[in-house]
C-alpha cells in the first residue's frame, strides 16, 4: 500500500466497517416453517477460548472490529479499557477470567494484540452499554427453549450463566449479560 492509500484507509476506517457479520442476517436468514409447536429464540453465538457462548440477539447492539482500547487506571481488572465508537465512549470488558477460562485477563490495547477474527460484541444494558471482547463471532443461532437446561450446579462461573442449550451436535453456553458485566 502506498502512503496515500494507507492514509485513505486510515481516514475511511471505521471500527464497524462492512464485511463483518452483520445483524442484517436476521432479516435474511430463512425462517423455520411455523409448525405451531414452539418458536425458537434467536441468539448471537461467539467463541471465548475454546467454548461457544450465546446471548439473546435482542441484547446485542452492534459487533465491531477491535479498535484502539484505552486502559483506565485503577479500574477493576476485567475492564480492558474504553473505546471511542463514533464519538461515544464505551467500556470494553474481558469476561474470560470470570468464566474461569484460560489464563486471566491479558492487557489488550488495540487490534495488534488480538487475532484478526476477534470482535467486540456491544451489548445493551441498563447500567450502560458495554463491549465484550470475543475470539470471534459465529453467527445467529435459533435455539428452542425446550432444549435449554439450567446451568450445571456448582462452579463459580454459575451465577453468570443463564443456561445450556443444544442444537444438533453443538452446545451453547447462554451468558447472563447483566450479571457477567456487574
Amino acid at each position: 500500500m502506498s502512503t496515500f492509500e494507507q492514509l485513505i484507509d486510515q481516514f475511511l476506517y471505521r471500527p464497524d466497517e462492512p464485511g463483518l457479520p452483520s445483524l442484517q442476517w436476521l432479516a435474511d436468514a430463512p425462517r423455520p416453517e411455523s409448525t405451531g409447536v414452539e418458536a425458537p429464540q434467536e441468539f448471537l453465538a461467539f467463541s471465548l477460548t475454546d467454548e461457544t457462548y450465546a446471548v439473546p440477539i435482542a441484547t446485542v447492539r452492534e459487533i465491531v472490529k477491535v479498535p484502539v482500547i484505552t486502559e483506565v487506571p485503577r479500574a477493576p481488572k476485567e475492564l480492558l479499557g474504553v473505546m471511542n465508537l463514533r464519538g461515544e465512549v464505551l467500556p470494553v470488558y474481558d469476561v474470560r477470567a470470570r468464566l474461569l477460562l484460560a489464563g486471566g485477563v491479558q492487557p489488550i490495547t488495540g487490534p495488534g494484540d488480538v487475532p484478526a477474527q476477534a470482535r467486540i460484541v456491544l451489548v445493551k444494558s441498563e447500567s450502560g452499554d458495554a463491549g465484550i471482547i470475543t475470539d470471534g463471532v459465529e453467527g445467529v443461532v435459533r435455539l428452542l427453549p425446550s432444549l435449554t437446561e439450567p446451568p450445571p450446579p456448582g462452579g463459580t462461573e454459575k451465577p453468570f450463566l443463564a443456561g445450556l442449550s443444544r442444537r444438533g451436535e453443538r452446545l451453547y453456553i447462554l451468558l447472563d449479560v447483566e450479571k457477567v458485566l456487574e
Partner: protein
C-alpha cells in the same frame, strides 16, 4: 409536560421582568433625594404592570397582588401624588426581594413560605405609604391651556403638562402631516429629534388629514428652548408649530383644532417588541456537542489533506491543493460557529451583581454598620451556568465581609480608620479567565482566633497549629462547620458559608485565593474559566499513556529535578516560590510502570484553596476538547472526568483535577 412547562415559562419570563425592575430601581436608589427621571419611573411602572398581567394570566395571585400594589404606588409616584422618599424606595427594593422569593417558590411548586407572609405585610406597608394626601391641583385651563386639548389627555399626560407649565416651560402644538406609508418611522424620528430640547407630552392623531393617503398628528410639546430652535428641528419634517401657553409669550392667535373623538390610542401592532429568544441551556449543550464532533472531523480532514499533499501518490496535485483549501475554510467557519455558540451562552455578571446589590443594601440597613458598597465589572461576561453557580458563593463572601470584616464605626475610628467601611465587588477579564474579587477594608482574618478554634475543635494539636504556614492556617476557614463565631446569628456562626464557596468553586474548576492583612482587611480572589462547554486541555504523557488536563485548573508548569523534592511525613513536597505544595507522579498515582527520570514536568493544579503538583513524563501540547462522560459503569473509578478524542479516534482520558486534589490533599487537611 403540560403541568410543568407553563410554570417554567412563567418563572423565566417573570424573572426577566423582575430583573429589569430591579435594575431600574437600583438606578433610582443611587439617585435618592433627586427628582426621579420620568423615563425611569415609567420603565419601573411598566415592568410592574407587565408582571401583574403575566402573573394573573398564569394564576399566581400572590405575585399579581404585590405587583398590583407596586404598580399603584408607582403610578402615584409618576403622577406626582407622592414623593420618592427613602421609605418608599426601600419598600420598592424589598418588593423586588419578595417577588424573587415568590418566584422561587413558584418554581418549586410551593404554595407557602416566608416570602408569602412578607408579601402580604409589604403590600399593606406600601399601601399606607402611598395613601392619598388630598390636595386639589389647580385646573389646567387656568394655567392657560385650551380646554379642547385638555379633554383628550390622560391623567398622566395632564400631570406632565402641569409640571411643565409650573416650571414655566412654553407649550406648543406641533402639527405634522405624514404619508400613510411611512408615518410610523417619521413620527418616531420626529419624536427623537424633539427629545433633546422638548418633552412630547402627548401625540394626538388629527382628524384634519388633508387627503386620504396622509395622516396628521398634533404633538403637545413642552419646549425648553427658544421657538426658533423648535422651528429648526421640525422644519425638515414639514411640520408647523403654534404656541399654546408660555409665561412670557402671548396666547396663540388661532387655537389649533383638536379632535375630540379619536383618543391618543393609535392602533398598536401585536408584533412583539422584543428581539430576543429564550433558549434552554440544554439545547445549547447539544449544539456544542455537535460542534465538538465536527471539530474532530475537521482535524481528520485537515490531516488527510496534509497527508495527501505530502504523499502525492495517485492523487492529482490540484485535488490535494483544493482539499487543503477547503479544509482551511471549514476550519475557519467551525471556529466561528464554536465562538458563536459560546457567545450565546455568555451573560453579563451584572445579572447576579444586581441581585447581590439588593441583598447587601438590606443587610446594611440591618447591620447598623456604615459601609460603602462598590460594584464594578458587571459587564464582564461568563457562561450562564457559571454565573448562576456564583450567586451563592458571592452572597456568602459579602455576608462575611459585612459581618466578620468591617468593624463597628467607633472601633474603626479608634484605630484611626475612617468610620465608613468599604466593601468592593469587582470582576475583570484576564485572558481565558475571569477574576472576581470580594474585598473589605475591615479587621482582616484573625490568625490567633482561627488557630485557637482549630485546636479547641480538635482539628489540630497545639504543636501542629503553631507550625502551620499562614496560608494553610487561613485555609482552615473553608472546613465545613468552622466558624470563629460562638453565637449563631442570622448572618454568621454556622460555618457553612466558606464551605459553599469552596464546593461551588470546585465544581466550576475555579480557584480561590485569600489575601488578608490584620487590621487592613480581607480580599477573596476567585478565578474562573469563561466556559465549561469546550475546554482547553493540556495534553500530557505518563508511562507512555496520553492524558488531557483541563487548562482551567492548571496554574503553571515547572520542571523539577528529583533531588529538589523534600519528604515531609512520608509525603513528597515541592517548593514553588516559597510555598510548599504536595507532589505526586501521575504514573505512581495511577499505578502505572514507573521509570526514573532526570527531570519531572510538574503540572501545578489547584482546586479552590488547595494546590497540587502532578508530575508527568512529557508535555505534548494544548488542544480544545469536548469532554464526553465515561460510562456509568465506571462511576467508581477515581480521578477521571471523562474521555475525549484528540482527532485520532482514540479515547483519551481527561483527568478530574478536583477529584485528584481532594484525593491527595484532603487526608492531610482534616484531622
Amino acid at each position: 409536560m403540560t403541568e410543568r412547562r407553563p410554570v417554567a415559562e412563567f418563572v423565566a419570563e417573570a424573572t426577566e421582568i423582575v430583573e429589569g425592575l430591579s435594575r431600574e430601581l437600583l438606578g433610582l436608589d443611587e439617585r435618592r433625594g433627586e427628582e426621579p427621571d420620568p423615563e425611569r419611573l415609567n420603565a419601573i411602572f411598566r415592568a410592574a404592570h407587565s408582571l401583574k398581567g403575566l402573573a394573573s394570566l398564569f394564576g399566581h395571585d400572590r405575585i399579581a397582588r404585590l405587583a398590583h400594589v407596586l404598580e399603584d404606588a408607582l403610578d402615584a409616584l409618576r403622577l406626582g401624588k407622592v414623593a420618592a422618599d427613602d421609605a418608599l424606595i426601600d419598600a420598592f427594593i424589598d418588593g423586588v426581594d419578595v417577588l424573587s422569593g415568590l418566584l422561587a417558590m413558584a418554581s418549586r411548586g410551593e404554595t407557602d413560605g416566608p416570602a408569602a407572609e412578607r408579601a402580604l405585610a409589604l403590600a399593606q406597608h406600601i399601601e399606607t405609604l402611598v395613601a392619598p394626601a388630598p390636595e386639589k391641583p389647580p385646573a389646567l385651563h387656568e394655567l392657560g391651556v385650551d380646554k379642547a386639548v385638555l379633554n383628550v389627555l390622560t391623567e398622566y399626560e395632564e400631570h406632565r403638562l402641569r409640571e411643565n407649565v409650573k416650571k414655566g416651560v412654553a407649550l406648543y402644538m406641533v402639527r405634522a402631516v405624514f404619508s400613510l406609508e411611512d408615518f410610523d418611522q417619521k413620527l418616531t424620528a420626529l419624536n427623537a429629534a424633539l427629545k433633546p430640547l422638548a418633552e412630547v407630552v402627548s401625540t394626538l392623531p388629527s382628524a384634519q388629514a388633508s387627503d386620504e393617503a396622509r395622516i396628521a398628528f398634533d404633538l403637545l410639546v413642552a419646549c425648553r428652548q427658544p421657538a426658533a430652535d423648535l422651528e429648526a428641528v421640525i422644519r425638515p419634517f414639514g411640520a408647523t408649530h403654534a404656541l399654546l401657553s408660555a409665561s412670557v409669550a402671548p396666547r396663540p392667535s388661532a387655537p389649533v383644532p383638536v379632535p375630540v373623538t379619536a383618543g391618543p390610542t393609535a392602533e398598536v401592532s401585536l408584533k412583539s417588541l422584543s428581539q430576543t429568544v429564550r433558549v434552554d441551556i440544554a439545547r445549547l449543550d447539544r449544539l456544542m456537542a455537535a460542534v465538538g464532533d465536527l471539530l474532530l472531523t475537521r482535524t481528520n480532514i485537515k490531516r488527510f489533506a496534509e497527508g495527501a499533499r505530502a504523499a502525492g501518490g495517485g492523487l492529482h496535485p490540484m485535488w490535494a491543493q483544493e482539499l487543503s483549501r477547503e479544509a482551511r475554510a471549514l476550519e475557519r467557519k467551525l471556529d466561528d460557529l464554536q465562538k458563536g455558540i459560546l457567545e450565546v451562552r455568555m451573560v453579563p455578571l451584572g445579572q447576579v451583581f444586581d441581585r447581590l446589590a439588593r441583598l447587601v443594601r438590606r443587610l446594611l440597613r440591618e447591620s447598623g454598620k456604615e459601609i460603602d458598597f462598590e460594584i464594578s465589572g458587571g459587564d464582564v461576561e461568563l457562561d450562564k451556568l457559571i454565573v448562576e453557580e456564583l450567586s451563592d458563593p458571592l452572597m456568602h463572601l459579602l455576608r462575611n465581609a459585612i459581618d466578620h470584616g468591617i468593624e463597628a464605626p467607633d472601633k474603626r475610628a479608634s484605630k484611626g480608620k475612617p468610620r465608613r467601611g468599604r466593601i468592593r465587588l469587582r470582576a475583570a477579564n484576564s485572558g481565558n479567565h475571569v477574576v472576581i474579587e470580594v474585598g473589605d477594608d475591615g479587621a482582616g482574618m484573625d490568625d490567633d482566633r482561627i488557630r485557637d478554634e482549630a485546636v479547641s475543635r480538635g482539628l489540630l494539636t497545639t504543636k501542629k497549629a503553631a507550625d502551620l504556614q499562614r496560608t494553610d492556617l487561613l485555609n482552615l476557614v473553608f472546613l465545613p462547620g468552622f466558624s470563629t463565631r460562638r453565637q449563631v446569628s442570622e448572618l454568621s456562626g454556622r460555618g457553612v458559608g466558606l464551605d459553599v464557596v469552596k464546593t461551588n468553586l470546585g465544581r466550576l474548576s475555579g480557584l480561590i485565593d485569600i489575601v488578608s492583612e490584620r487590621g487592613q482587611g480581607t480580599t477573596f480572589v476567585l478565578t474562573l474559566p469563561l466556559t465549561l462547554a469546550i475546554i482547553r486541555a493540556l495534553v500530557v504523557q505518563s508511562a507512555g499513556r496520553t492524558y488531557a488536563v483541563p487548562m482551567s485548573s492548571v496554574l503553571e508548569i515547572v520542571a523539577v529535578r528529583p533531588s529538589e523534592l523534600r519528604t515531609v511525613e512520608h509525603r513528597q513536597m515541592l517548593s514553588v516560590r516559597g510555598q510548599t505544595v504536595p507532589f505526586v507522579r501521575l504514573s505512581q498515582l495511577f499505578k502505572l510502570p514507573e521509570t526514573p527520570v532526570d527531570l519531572h514536568y510538574v503540572v501545578l493544579v489547584g482546586l479552590a484553596q488547595h494546590r497540587l503538583g502532578i508530575a508527568v513524563d512529557h508535555l505534548l501540547g494544548q488542544q480544545d476538547v469536548v469532554t464526553k462522560p465515561l460510562s456509568a459503569r465506571l462511576r467508581d473509578v477515581p480521578g477521571l472526568a471523562g474521555a475525549t478524542d484528540l482527532g485520532d479516534r482514540r479515547a483519551v482520558l481527561v483527568l478530574d483535577v478536583p477529584a485528584l486534589v481532594s484525593e491527595i490533599v484532603r487526608p492531610q487537611a482534616s484531622p
